[in-house]
Assembly symmetry: C2
Homo-oligomer: 283 residues x 2
């Protein structure tokens, strides 16, 4: 996929939503820098639950919401449990209010364009700007050089092997195991759960991203699974499998989790609590 | 319809065509002037037949064509005989070539934005710029003050009464007659033909806009109609009924026509030739 294709795919998510298409294209063309990344229709985790933002600039943790009169966004929130959801705590939201007055709308958009352009310049000046690079973003080597993964930056990989190898494994693609025992981090497994319905497991993560509930759907194995976890002290480095807004599979880092044995049960599931939102990469 | 709604409707014509949507929005947002008008997917009359241009700036007689690789535009030319078609002789065409290189595409678009902005400034300086004004464009009084209709400017009206009253009639809406005898222009009828199929007539205009063929479909009336025209010397001021690209009915001025008696016949139809592409408005 070229940058152009990526941008056009993002814009095309707004195709049937004419005001969104107007605002999104005006902002993007107005910024006029191909080193700035955006997504459209991005699901986010907020302290009070999931939400959908119309445009998201990950380099600046900035979201755009387009407020259309008589348009109830809740209705179109077609989130499913496979959807990619990013952490958005402390992210900034700018709103564009749609009225009949095109000059008023354009003024609001000009303000946002200026704001983003200024943030970009500031980050460049402070040496903290990471130019958007499709080839780099999901590359394990890029993250290894950075030296950490942090949920605040919403890092993600395209494959299980990329995620594993970023953490020092030497994993070959092919076997798509949902568990990989870490060779580098003692007493840690790297886990690629599905938080959407599947034959064997009913697992989910809380809206705030802090709690995972794990339930084995095969009744005959529930007790064995429960007992083995109660006797284990292995933490989990978690990369749930999801689909991004363009339909591509992603494994996004969600932190390190520890089993909460006290609150786990066969009936209600095994509870895992996030104990760290960051992992240092050992070289 | 507000300006914003108009612009969004024009852009939405490109919705399923992602490269077009990218180019059209980038050009429009880049010009960044709400006094500039554009249409998308505009049918035009060229010396060698009809064509469809992707974006048209009527104030500057400038068209944009977007050349996509492996994309045969002819296939999607869903022209029907009701479509609004404008005169485009001597109009300028700029092309945007789509490649994988977003910076190359953006450079081409920047060139066009600069060209249009310069034309606008030049026209303002020379006092020939007519700011886009949705309320004025189809207003008979606006054209009366201008003093003429000229096919080169593609003037049009929304209703039969507006066209008639622009030419000095005092016509009330209601009766939708296709003929109105002019009170102002001796031996002239104002004619609102349909160049698309209908019960009573099979009329059409040539691609170059110079020849109209008129055929009565009611066999029992053909001879009477033919004879009456052969004995008449009434010219026609022609405003064919059409639909613009947003589906709105238009009556666009196509010139003054005179019956070519020598070349007319019952079998092949009555032939009318354009004798003037301009009419002076008498006050």
């Amino acid at each position: 996929m070229t940058e152009l294709e990526y941008i056009i795919k993002q814009i095309s998510k707004t195709n049937k939503k004419n005001f969104e298409n107007y605002v999104v294209t005006r902002i993007w063309h107005g910024i006029n820098k191909t080193d700035v990344k955006f997504t459209t229709q991005q699901f986010v985790n907020r302290p009070n639950g999931h939400a959908l933002t119309d445009m998201f600039f990950p380099q600046f943790n900035l979201h755009i919401e387009i407020d259309e009169p008589f348009h109830n966004k809740q209705k179109e929130l077609d989130l499913n449990r496979e959807s990619d959801i990013i952490e958005a705590t402390n992210h900034k939201i700018e709103r564009v209010k749609i009225t009949d007055d095109i000059n008023f709308i354009n003024k609001q958009i000009d303000y946002i364009i200026n704001e983003i352009s200024a943030l970009r310049t500031k980050n460049i000046d402070e040496n903290t700007f990471e130019p958007w690079d499709l080839g780099k973003e999901f590359n394990p080597e890029y993250h290894r050089e950075k030296g950490y993964l942090d949920t605040k930056e919403n890092p993600a990989f395209k494959t299980i092997s990329h995620a594993c190898n970023c953490l020092g494994q030497n994993y070959k693609d092919g076997s798509q195991r949902s568990y990989v025992k870490s060779k580098v981090y003692e007493n840690h497994n790297i886990w690629f759960p599905k938080f959407y319905n599947n034959d064997k497991w009913d697992n989910w993560i809380s809206d705030d991203g802090l709690t995972i509930t794990e339930k084995c759907k095969t009744e005959s194995k529930q007790k064995e699974h429960f007992d083995s976890l109660m006797n284990s002290s292995v933490n989990r480095i978690v990369f749930p499998r999801s689909k991004d807004n363009l339909g591509f599979t992603l494994y996004r880092f969600k932190g390190i989790f520890k089993t909460d044995k006290e609150n786990s049960s066969i009936e209600n599931g095994i509870i895992h609590r996030r104990i760290n939102n960051r992992i240092e990469i050992k070289k």
